[in-house]
Structures are given as structure tokens and as C-alpha cells.
């Protein structure tokens, strides 16, 4: 497949505006400036583009909600918090192809009549910050940003806002709180951000990759776009593959590529040709799959039918040597560390799960611990304020469901996970 999102990134100067323009960049912007905002929204709707941040919400529909709200001003926020462990697909876009994101945001801003955009960039990407800021500066110089974009009287200002190490700020309402200078705790919904978001004004939050798809939709038209990949969630998709594969990295493939294809065709198979044990297909919050469940098309619609989720498309591959309870423990430690502390089950329940897993992995687990763990996870699941707590419960439940024997082995043989 021809690359679009990662087009030109082999070029060492890909982040430079001139290189980007040379490769055909900012053409879609010119086109968009000649379109009515409502028509852009219509095209995005027609394209079938779904948000790439994890939930797969139809982008055009989200925009239409915000556009319909009469409140002004409107804000456009880019979710560049990329915090889901295993996910590093937005990073090449941010570091190597920043103008694609910027172009996508300007077009989106125009579509929504938003005058201000912010890129909420995770604190862990300091280099991306410098690259984005340089790129934004160039875009201002070329009059792609500012008070009078391309002389069309359209205004759009954009700047980078750096997060400071909080996974929960990837959740859109927590992101907004954080951008407002508060503790990044999720807000009650409704009101949804499209009605009351940043500074209580209608706000659209989209993922980096989502915005980066927008110029493509305009470039090839919604009909062509909708023909790429899966029929009900089309388009190119970035997969970040890590763990025990020969060629880990970020791959741009059509939506709906199977997990098996990703691992064996594109990434060259398991490192050292060892046996595959498990795969987490969409970032750590998505259910782990055993090695015999690889023939699922990776998209928002089909993955749930196969017992997992597309999430952020972060494929983590574990070979036969991996101690899965230990992976599970590390994942739960992550959730414990990232719980915002607002709601009871997440704040207290995850720590409890961590301590049970800790004793299992530490070789001091008790016979009833697996059931207790499941019970605690059940008490967390579905009762938290936001989906973060569910993510933790999902991890525990699916690791045990698929690999219970490994947990039992730790308990029965009193083996300590290495170290």
C-alpha cells in the first residue's frame, strides 16, 4: 500500500515545511479554504473516518455535534498524550511529519470555525515539542496559521501545551482539565466536550493520527478514502509493534489487516523464531490474546468479536519465555501509578490487585488468591468513574482467563518471578 501518514519520513528533513510542501503538503489546506466549513464536515463524515485515539468514535459526527452548538468560541484540541503503554505510533507523526498534523488541524479548525487550537503533548516527548514548535513557527511564516490564512480571512492560532506525566490526561475531559491548569481528573459527562469543553466552550478533541488523516480525506475525496481497508472503519492505520518480533516499529497498513499478517508478514515473525505465547493487540488496556487467536482483522468493529479491541493499535508480542503473571503485575503497577485517585474502586482496588499479584509473583501467593484477584477485579469493573479502572480490571481478568495455569504455577510451586 502506498504510504500516506508516513509518506516522506525517510527524508531526514521531513519535518521541514519546504520538504513537506515539495511532497505535496498543504495542498489539501488550499482546497479546504475554498470549501464551506459544513462541506468539510460532510466530507469527513462521508469518509467514514473514525478516531484513532482508541475509542473509534466517528470523527465527522463529533465535529457535527460541536458545530451545531451555537456557543462560541470553539476550541480544537489535539490529543498527543500517547500514554497507552505499547503505543508509539503518534511519535513519528509528531517528530517526523509535524506539518501533516498541523495541516490537518488547520483544516479541522476551519471546518469547526475554531480560532484556537492546542496540541496537548505528553511531557515524555521533549524533542517532539521542539520539532512541533519549529514547524508551527514555519507555518505562521508561510501564513498557513495566523489571522489571515492564505489571505482568506480565516484565523487559526495553534500552540503546543506540554503535559507532565499523567496517563489519565489522555482521557479527553482530564486532558481539558489539565489544559486549564488543574489536576488532570476526568469530568462528569454530560456535558460532553463538544458542548462544554475547554473553558466551558464547545471543544473537539482528536488524536494526532485522526487529524493527520484529514488532509488525505480531502486530497483523495471521501469515496476513495472509504475504500481503504475495512468497510465500516476505513482508512490507513498506524500499528506500533513491540516485544518479541524481528522488526518492531510503526507500520502504516490498511485498517483490518490481521494480527497474524502484522506479526508474521510485516514484522518478520517472532524474534529468534521462538514460539509465540501471547499478544496484546491494542495497547495495554486491551485484552491479551493467546497465540491461537491471531486471525482477527485489526479494526474497531471486528476486534471485539474476537475477544479484544483495536485500542490504539499497539501490538505487544510475547514469546514463550515470557513470565506472563509478571507482565500482568507490571501492567497493574502502571495502572496503580496512573490512577487519578478520584474514584474509590480504581484508587483502592488497583492497589489491592497489585498487592495480590505481588505476592503471587513473589512466590508467596495463597491458594485462594486467583479467585480473590478475580473478585476484586469484578468489583472494579464497570464501577469506576472513567474507563481507566476498567482497563486494569480487563488486564487481570484476561491474563487469568487465558493463562491461569501460569498464575497457579507460581502459587503452587512457590516460584518467585525472576528478580
Amino acid at each position: 500500500m502506498e504510504k500516506y501518514l508516513l509518506r516522506n519520513i525517510e527524508n531526514p528533513n521531513s519535518a521541514d515545511i519546504n520538504e513537506y510542501v515539495k511532497a505535496g503538503g498543504y495542498k489539501a489546506l488550499a482546497k479546504a479554504m475554498d470549501m464551506k466549513p459544513a462541506d468539510i464536515i460532510e466530507q469527513v463524515k462521508k469518509s467514514g473516518l473514525r478516531g484513532r485515539g482508541g475509542a473509534g468514535f466517528p470523527t465527522g459526527m463529533k465535529w457535527a455535534f460541536a458545530a451545531a452548538d451555537p456557543k462560541m468560541p470553539k476550541y480544537l484540541l489535539c490529543n498527543a498524550d500517547e500514554g497507552e503503554p505499547g503505543t508509539f505510533k503518534d511519535r513519528p507523526l509528531l517528530e517526523k511529519n509535524p506539518h501533516l498534523l498541523i495541516e490537518g488541524m488547520i483544516i479541522s479548525g476551519h471546518a469547526l470555525r475554531a480560532k484556537y487550537g492546542y496540541i496537548y503533548l505528553r511531557g515524555e516527548y521533549p524533542q517532539a515539542k521542539d520539532i512541533l514548535e519549529a514547524a508551527i513557527k514555519q507555518a505562521y511564516e508561510k501564513k498557513f496559521l495566523g489571522d489571515n490564512i492564505l489571505g482568506r480571512g480565516v484565523k487559526f492560532d495553534l500552540c503546543v501545551h506540554q503535559g507532565a506525566g499523567a496517563y489519565i490526561c489522555g482521557e479527553e475531559t482530564a486532558l481539558i482539565e489539565s489544559l486549564e491548569g488543574r489536576r488532570g481528573q476526568p469530568r462528569i459527562k454530560p456535558p460532553f466536550p463538544v458542548n462544554e469543553g475547554f473553558l466551558a466552550k464547545p471543544t473537539v478533541v482528536n488524536n494526532v493520527e485522526t487529524f493527520s488523516n484529514v488532509p488525505y480525506v480531502l486530497e483523495i475525496g471521501p469515496e476513495e478514502y472509504s475504500k481503504i481497508g475495512s468497510s465500516d472503519c476505513p482508512g490507513p492505520k498506524l500499528f506500533s509493534v513491540s516485544g518479541h518480533v524481528k522488526k518492531p516499529g510503526v507500520y502504516e497498513l490498511p485498517m483490518g489487516t490481521t494480527l497474524r499478517d502484522i506479526i508474521y508478514t510485516h514484522c518478520g515473525g517472532v524474534t529468534g523464531d521462538k514460539k509465540l505465547k501471547a499478544v496484546i493487540p491494542g495497547g495495554i488496556s486491551t485484552p491479551v490474546l493467546p497465540a491461537d487467536k491471531l486471525d482477527c482483522p485489526m479494526d474497531f468493529v471486528n476486534m471485539p468479536k474476537h475477544g479484544s479491541m483495536l485500542g490504539s493499535g499497539a501490538v505487544m508480542v510475547f514469546d514463550e519465555t515470557v513470565d506472563l503473571p509478571k507482565v500482568c503485575l507490571r501492567a497493574i503497577k502502571f495502572f496503580e501509578h496512573e490512577s487519578c485517585g478520584k474514584c474509590t474502586p480504581c484508587r483502592e482496588g488497583i492497589g489491592w490487585m497489585r498487592s495480590i499479584l505481588g505476592r503471587i509473583c513473589g512466590g508467596t501467593g495463597n491458594a485462594g488468591d486467583i479467585d480473590l484477584l478475580l473478585e476484586v477485579s469484578k468489583n472494579v469493573m464497570g464501577k469506576t468513574f472513567c474507563p481507566l479502572g476498567d482497563g486494569a480490571a480487563t488486564v487481570v481478568q484476561n491474563f487469568i482467563k487465558n493463562f491461569r495455569n501460569e498464575f497457579e504455577a507460581h502459587i503452587n510451586n512457590k516460584v518467585r518471578a525472576e528478580r
Partner: protein, 874 residues
């Protein structure tokens, strides 16, 4: 119309509410921990989960709104399991030290565990450790008990507007902390203590002093500190109050209190309370019996009256005493002593301002409900910081500000910093220039109607002042003034909150006229700050030299006659002396006897030295009080009174609401003030014949045209508002006797290099009574002199350095506190601490119109002291 079914019960609702609220309406209680009625929904504790048909997940009922046709179940097996699970989670990091914890017995968590638990406690690892913090004198923080409901933090920021505490960290390592990590250094409203559902934030003053089940009796009464009149509940064991909590349902304070109301009541059990009547013998006060004291006073009064006439005797009433006390006192002065010489500290500012506004707009113009402030569309504050003087009223202003209602403040109002969009801080005593410019500009934007009322005609005669003239006089940039006008002109019915500082001035009357004109131009409602709980009431009771009960002027024959006829006695026709004139009279020898009820005039009137000098010349000084004060030291007779908690009666607050003060405990030594006076009266041959305060109120209800038929039951119903059941005086449209301000004189600039002294109103103190509160002293134990940063730099003084402040009247030494917000040429000193009050160094200066102190233009010389301040000698 929305129809919902909760546990099989159907209800219909006009507008969507949360499931929690809807359930409450049908009498179904859903358990919560993070929810509080004063706060917005939070959704954190997850205890309120309920089952909703057609929804696969349980939903939090505090955040989920009802929709038409929704079917909700609040106690299904699934729900109960979930609640149990939440409680089990909460107990993971909750210290299970209930036997030691003061909250036991009134702990929401404990109650819920008893109902849904007992959780099996399957969590076996160690709990979070966090030693109890005793860094603060008032608040104990035990973060091992905190359940992260954040009620305290939300209360502190959203309701109190103080934002003194915050949740720090995240995850289960989250806890509540003040900025310093130790001492709170906050406003000590204690509202955080009140809303904590567990024992995480508790009052240190009450630590281990009680258990909820020790409380034998509760009495709903009214706070004794300021003119707001918050409803409080006294919790009593034996004959002592173990705790004061806000009354949350009926009171105008809606469950809020300030530091004074919540913690300051402990003065009543101070061991320094007066225990016995005393008579001066051989130069010193010696204990005596009540009857001897009554005889002595009566004898002396009789003598003086016979020799010098009733006019040589004067009485000082008190805004801390009840309506009943004050009524009996003025009756005694007028009918028994035969003198209209009765006044109080309320005569310094509250009464003249009220009289002035009533002259223009009619009686009762300042009687506006406090709750209306947060519902108005704009607020203008001048003359003092309401958040310090009338804290719970101040919260109304902050609440309005948080709803984006524009607030403008004139003068140094630190408690409203961050809440006022327009903050104008003029140079000392130049408010008139600013007000005149505001008025001039306002009238340009909204001219007065062509058909003029008499007052509008008067306004028309006020000389206009330009923005530039105002700028050069008061030092505020004209742009800032006009920005304030922009904001004012958008208001349609704003609240004007007016404090003492603007009234107790040489140009006080000009200020009031300009404010009245502004009120007219803005269509504003006037609120007068009131520092004592019953200033309004004592005025209504006739404790003014020119007013009879019910706000009837002494000067009008028919009123005087009606009043006299009622008692078959004659009311003297000559207007009495103001408090300041009484002191002058004592000094000059015209006043021979002064009868003081519950007031510390030797301290609370500027120029303490002059006052003391005057008092020492009296033939008779009678003082009723609950403590030894600067004034009792000069008394010939001192009589111990019952404290606020030890008497029944009524207070009338600044909004004109009469409230029932109930007796909570018995007085060990003191008598009600009215009773003492009635006894003296009896010896003088007039038997007042009251059995209790009810009898007095019944008489008031007959005598005062305003209080027709008023009863305590009316007050208990909660809405006994001005004009009660009676008739205010008809308003005379012809406004006479208003002097036009001389603008030229008012535009004179203050001298640049001079420093003037002003009175700092401290949130933690209330005149001189609060110095007897252990709690309030532990929050604020030392007076400070506040200065601005430029003045501090000029003196090379840092916060904490000691300075001396000297004026023509005397000198004091205090530690300095620097507040970068203060104007340059002023030093503010509180008047609460013995020997070091502002009035010690403020001279005797009378505002001729009000016959009350003018506190302006008192020059001071400040010097940095190298040594740490020494004791200040008398």
C-alpha cells in the same frame, strides 16, 4: 414532564434532576459519601451506584440524571454487593481506629459499614501510613482516615473561596493538605471539619472532649459575634457547651459559619468571667452582694438626678445585648432616670448611615435579605472588607463572583482579592473624589429621568467631578475608574455593601450622599456592614438619643406623648447626647453618672487616654459586663452579666431579621442585663415587673409600632423580617437638612509623605470580647501593623520586624506585616488587643454631623525598632 420509577414508586418531575435528588424527593435515601448538598455532584465515592433498567452497568445516581420512562432500583442484590465492595475498598486505607476516633458515632463511613458491611477485611497488606498532624492550633488532620471524597477541598474552594487546602499527589497516595503542609494559615471557617464524613479533619479544640452520644441537649440559637446572625446549634452536656455547629436547614447561613461563630464561643467558659458584683471602696473594687450593689446605684442615681437633673446621667447600650435588654435599658433611662442620653457604638457609623439612607429613601431601605446578594447582578463594596467584618455575608459576594457576577471593591478589601473584577484602592480619605467621579460618569451613561423626584433634584446639584480630577485626587488611573463604570452600568439591581470606614470620617456625610446618589443611579440595594450582632436591634429598640422604640423620633411630640402615655410617665423632650458627647460631658463635668451595659468604652472609642480621663472624673460609673475590661477598671460598681449563651431574647440582624436567642446553659454568677436594670429600677421605685424576656417582648410588641404582636414563635418560624408585623414611618418625600458636599475641598490631595493610621478589621477578632476566647487567640494571638511594600521598603522593615507607631495621642509597638496590596501612606492596626489597640493612638476628633468619631487624617510616625518589642506600659 418526566416520569421516573424508583423502587416501584412513580414520580413526575418538571425538569431533570439527578437520580439521587429524585429519590430523595420520594423519601428514598441512597447512601453517599462524596456528595454534599452545598456542593456540586462529584461522582467519586461510587457508593450511590444504582441499577437502571436497560442499562447494563450500575450508574452513579449523584451524576446520572433522570430521563423520561427511566426505571431505577436502589437496593437490589447487585447494588448492595457493589456498595459492600466500595466499602471494602474504602477500608483498605482507612485506619480502623474507631474507638479512638472522635467521629465515632457520627461517622458516615462507620454507619454505612454497619448497614452494608461488615466488610470481611480480605485486604491483608499494610495500610498507608500518615501520622496525625498537630501542626495547627485548631485543625487536626488525620490522613489515615481520609477517604478522598474531596468534600473539604471543594468546600474550601467553591463555597468558602479560600482555597487553602488541596488534594496533593494522585492514586491512593492522595491526601488533603494546606499549602504549608502543616499549619493551615487559612480563614478557619471550619467548614472543612463540618463536611468531612469521617474523622480525617477534626477540630483540635474538641479532641477527646466529647462523644456524640454524650450530648444531652441541643439548643438552636443565634451566633453572638456579628450582624449577620448565623443560626447555630449548641450541643450541651451538663451545664457546658461542648460544641457549636451550624444549623443547616433553616438558618440564613445554610450550614456555614466563620471562625468566630464556630470556635470563638469558648469565651463563655473562660475562668476570667466576672463572678460577683463589686463596689469601689477605698479606691479598689471589692466584692459585694447584689442587693447592696442595687442599693448603691439607686442611691447615687437618685442623688445626682436630684442635684443635677436627669440630663447629667447617661447610658451606653450594647449591640451585643438583646432587644429585650436594650429596650429595658432605654426605658429605664427615659422614664426612670429621665434622660434621652442613650447611645452606643452603633451610633458611630451604623445608625447615622441608616438614618441618612432612610431620610432619603424611607425607613427600612437597608433591610435587604443577605441571600439576595449572591442572586444580584452586580456587587459594589466600599468601606471595609465584608469577608472579615461579616464573613458569611462576604461568602455571598464570593459566591456571586464565582458565578461570574461582576464585583467592584473600593478600598483595601483583601478578602475579596481575586473575586473583584474591579478593585479600586484610593489614597487615604479620598473616596469621596472617586465616588463623585463614578457618579458623574454613571449619570452620563444613564441620565436621570426628566421628571425628577426631590432626591434626583438633589443629585442634580452635586458638582460633577471628572475622571482626571478624581485621578489626581485619589491616585487611581482614570482608565481604571471608567472600567469600573463600564461594569457598574451593566448592573440593573446591584447590591451595595457599605462598611464603617467610609462613614466614620470627617467627610462621612458627603460619602453617604454620594453613595445614596449612586444607589439611586444604579437602582441598588443597600447593605450596611454591622460588626455586632444586634446593632440593628438596639436602634429599633430606641437606644439612640433621638429615637424611640419602633424608629419614632423623640422630637415629634405625638410619638413622645404616645410613648409616655403608655407608661403614664413623661418622656424628656430634649434630644439626648451621643456617646461621644457623653464622654466629652464626663470630661467637662456636665455628665456626672454613666451607666454602661455591655460595652468597653475605654477601649472601643478612639483616644483611649481621653476617654479614661473622662471616666475617671465621673461621680458614678456603673458597668455591666461579663469580663473585667479597661472600662470596669474605672467603675464604681461592676455587675456580672449573663453571657450570650445564658440568656433568652432576640437579636435583629443587619438585614432586619429578628431571631430568637435561646438560653443554652445556666449562668453561674451573672444576671441578664435587663434583669439587673429592672432591679435597680425597682429600688428607684419603678417596678418593671417582668418575669422573663417573653414579658418584655410582649411589651415591645405593644409599645413599638414596628413590632406589633411579634412573638418568639414568629422568629422561630424563620422569617420575622422588617417591618415585622408593624408599620414603618411614612416616608416624607421632602428631604431636608442635607448639606451639599464641597467638592473643591474633597478634591484636595492628601499630603504625599505623611502616613496615616487606620483600623484593621481582623477576621479572627471581634472588638474586645474575642480576646477571652482561647480558640481565637490561638489563631491570632498578637496584633500586627499592616503596611504596604513601598512603605516597608522606605523603613527597611521586613515582615515580623517590630515598629513603633506614634501619633499625637500616644505610641504603640507592634510587629509589622507587609501586604503588597496596601496603599503606600497608611498603616493599619487592629483594635482588639489590650494596650496595643489602634484607638490608643487615634486622637479625639468629632464628625459634627454625626457627633461621632472621625477616624481620618490621624498622622502617624513609624519607626523601625532594632530590639524586639518590649512590653507596652500604660
Amino acid at each position: 414532564m418526566i416520569t421516573v420509577t424508583i423502587n416501584g414508586k412513580q414520580i413526575k418531575l418538571e425538569k431533570p434532576v439527578s437520580i439521587l435528588e429524585a429519590a430523595k424527593m420520594t423519601g428514598i435515601k441512597i447512601p453517599t459519601l462524596c456528595h454534599h448538598k452545598s456542593l456540586e455532584a462529584y461522582g467519586g465515592c461510587r457508593l450511590c451506584l444504582v441499577e437502571i433498567e436497560k442499562m447494563p452497568r450500575l450508574q452513579a445516581s449523584c451524576t446520572q440524571y433522570v430521563t423520561d420512562g427511566m426505571v431505577v432500583w436502589t437496593e437490589t442484590g447487585r447494588v448492595v454487593e457493589a456498595r459492600k465492595a466500595m466499602l471494602e475498598f474504602l477500608l483498605i486505607n482507612h485506619a480502623l481506629d474507631c474507638p479512638y476516633c472522635d467521629k465515632a458515632g457520627e461517622c458516615d463511613l462507620q454507619d454505612l459499614v454497619m448497614k452494608y458491611g461488615p466488610a470481611a477485611g480480605r485486604f491483608t497488606e499494610g495500610k498507608r501510613k500518615h501520622p496525625e498532624s498537630y501542626d495547627d492550633p485548631i485543625i487536626v488532620r488525620n490522613m489515615e482516615r481520609c477517604i478522598s471524597c474531596t468534600r473539604c477541598v471543594r468546600m474550601c474552594s467553591k463555597v468558602q473561596g479560600a482555597s487553602a487546602i488541596s488534594m496533593v499527589n494522585r492514586t491512593s497516595k492522595t491526601f488533603v493538605e494546606p499549602f504549608s503542609g502543616g499549619r493551615y494559615n487559612c480563614e478557619y471557617c471550619g467548614n472543612c471539619i463540618n463536611v468531612c464524613p469521617v474523622g480525617a479533619i477534626m477540630s483540635r479544640l474538641h479532641k477527646h472532649t466529647y462523644r456524640p452520644w454524650f450530648i444531652e441537649k441541643t439548643v438552636d440559637t443565634v451566633c453572638s459575634f456579628c450582624g449577620v446572625g448565623c443560626s447555630v446549634t449548641a450541643q450541651i452536656r451538663g451545664n457546658s457547651i461542648v460544641r457549636i455547629i451550624p444549623e443547616s436547614e433553616k438558618g440564613l447561613n445554610r450550614g456555614l459559619l466563620c471562625n468566630r461563630g464556630r470556635f470563638g464561643y469558648d469565651y463563655i467558659s473562660n475562668s476570667g468571667r466576672l463572678k460577683s458584683p463589686m463596689i469601689r471602696k477605698n479606691g479598689s473594687l471589692q466584692e459585694t452582694t447584689w442587693s447592696e450593689a442595687f442599693m448603691y446605684i439607686a442611691q447615687k442615681i437618685k442623688e445626682i438626678k436630684e442635684k443635677n437633673g436627669g440630663a447629667a446621667i447617661a447610658g451606653v447600650a450594647s449591640g451585643r445585648c438583646t432587644n429585650e435588654d436594650n429596650y429595658v435599658f432605654q426605658k429605664f433611662m427615659r422614664l426612670v432616670v429621665g434622660s434621652n442620653n442613650i447611645d452606643s457604638i452603633a451610633g458611630f457609623a451604623y445608625a447615622p448611615a441608616r438614618k441618612f439612607f432612610e431620610k432619603i429613601f424611607g425607613q427600612g431601605v437597608t433591610a435587604n435579605p443577605i441571600q439576595g446578594i449572591s442572586r444580584s447582578d452586580g456587587i459594589f463594596v466600599i468601606g471595609g472588607d465584608p469577608t472579615a467584618i461579616n464573613p458569611v455575608l462576604g461568602l455571598q459576594i464570593r459566591a456571586a463572583s464565582q458565578k461570574d457576577i461582576p464585583v467592584a471593591t473600593v478600598g483595601y478589601a483583601p478578602g475579596l482579592k481575586g473575586f473583584a473584577a474591579n478593585r479600586l484602592i484610593p489614597k487615604p480619605s479620598t473616596e469621596a473624589a472617586l465616588l463623585a467621579a463614578l457618579l458623574t460618569e454613571m449619570l452620563k451613561r444613564k441620565p436621570l429621568p426628566a421628571e425628577k423626584t426631590p432626591f434626583e433634584e438633589i443629585i442634580g446639584k452635586i458638582q460633577p467631578v471628572s475622571l482626571n480630577e478624581a485621578e489626581s485626587a485619589c491616585g487611581i488611573a482614570s482608565g481604571e475608574i471608567s472600567a469600573c463604570v463600564d461594569s457598574l452600568s451593566g448592573m440593573t439591581n446591584p447590591a451595595l455593601v457599605i462598611g464603617r470606614d467610609i462613614i466614620q470620617r470627617s467627610e462621612g456625610q458627603a460619602n453617604l450622599l454620594l453613595l445614596a446618589a449612586l444607589a439611586q443611579a444604579l437602582n441598588g440595594r443597600i447593605y450596611l456592614s454591622s460588626e455586632l450582632p444586634n446593632e440593628q436591634g438596639l436602634i429599633d429598640m430606641g437606644c439612640l438619643p433621638d429615637m424611640l422604640p419602633g424608629g419614632r423620633p423623640v422630637a415629634v411630640d405625638s410619638f413622645r406623648k404616645r410613648y409616655g402615655e403608655f407608661f403614664n410617665a413623661e418622656v424628656p423632650s430634649a434630644q439626648g447626647l451621643s456617646l461621644m458627647e457623653m464622654v466629652e460631658g464626663a470630661h467637662s463635668g456636665n455628665i456626672k453618672a454613666l451607666y454602661v451595659m455591655g460595652e468597653n468604652i475605654a477601649f472601643n472609642i478612639p483616644d483611649n487616654k481621653f476617654v479614661k480621663d473622662a471616666l475617671s472624673r465621673l461621680e458614678l460609673l456603673v458597668v455591666q459586663d461579663i469580663f473585667t475590661t479597661e472600662t470596669t477598671r474605672f467603675a464604681h460598681v461592676v455587675l456580672p452579666a449573663a453571657s450570650w449563651a445564658e440568656r433568652e431574647g432576640s437579636y435583629t440582624n443587619l438585614e432586619g431579621r429578628m431571631q430568637h436567642l435561646k438560653k443554652a446553659i445556666d449562668s453561674v454568677a451573672g444576671l441578664e442585663d435587663w434583669k439587673i436594670i429592672a432591679e435597680v429600677s425597682k429600688v428607684l421605685g419603678v417596678d418593671m415587673n417582668y418575669r422573663d424576656s417573653r414579658d418584655i417582648l410582649a411589651e415591645i410588641a405593644k409599645v413599638s409600632p414596628l413590632h406589633k404582636g411579634v412573638t418568639y414563635e414568629d422568629m422561630d418560624s424563620g422569617e420575622c423580617m422588617w417591618p415585622y408585623k408593624g408599620e414603618p414611618l411614612r416616608h416624607d418625600l421632602n428631604i431636608v437638612g442635607i448639606d451639599m458636599p464641597d467638592m473643591k475641598a474633597l478634591l484636595k490631595k492628601p499630603e504625599k509623605d505623611k502616613v496615616y493610621i487606620g483600623v484593621d478589621k481582623v477576621l479572627f477578632h471581634s472588638a474586645s470580647l474575642s480576646r477571652n476566647s482561647f480558640a481565637l487567640n490561638s489563631i491570632y494571638s498578637e496584633p500586627h501593623a499592616k503596611i504596604g511594600k513601598n512603605l516597608a521598603a522606605k523603613l527597611s522593615v521586613a515582615s515580623g520586624d517590630h515598629i513603633s507607631i506614634s501619633t499625637g495621642a500616644g505610641a504603640i509597638e507592634l510587629a509589622a506585616v507587609i501586604d503588597s496590596d496596601m496603599p503606600d501612606n497608611i498603616v493599619l492596626v487592629p483594635n482588639n488587643f489590650e494596650g496595643r489597640g489602634a484607638f490608643r493612638v487615634m486622637g479625639w476628633k468629632m464628625n459634627a454631623a454625626f457627633k461621632a468619631p472621625a477616624l481620618d487624617g490621624m498622622e502617624a510616625v513609624l519607626k523601625k525598632l532594632e530590639r524586639v518589642s518590649a512590653e507596652v506600659s500604660e
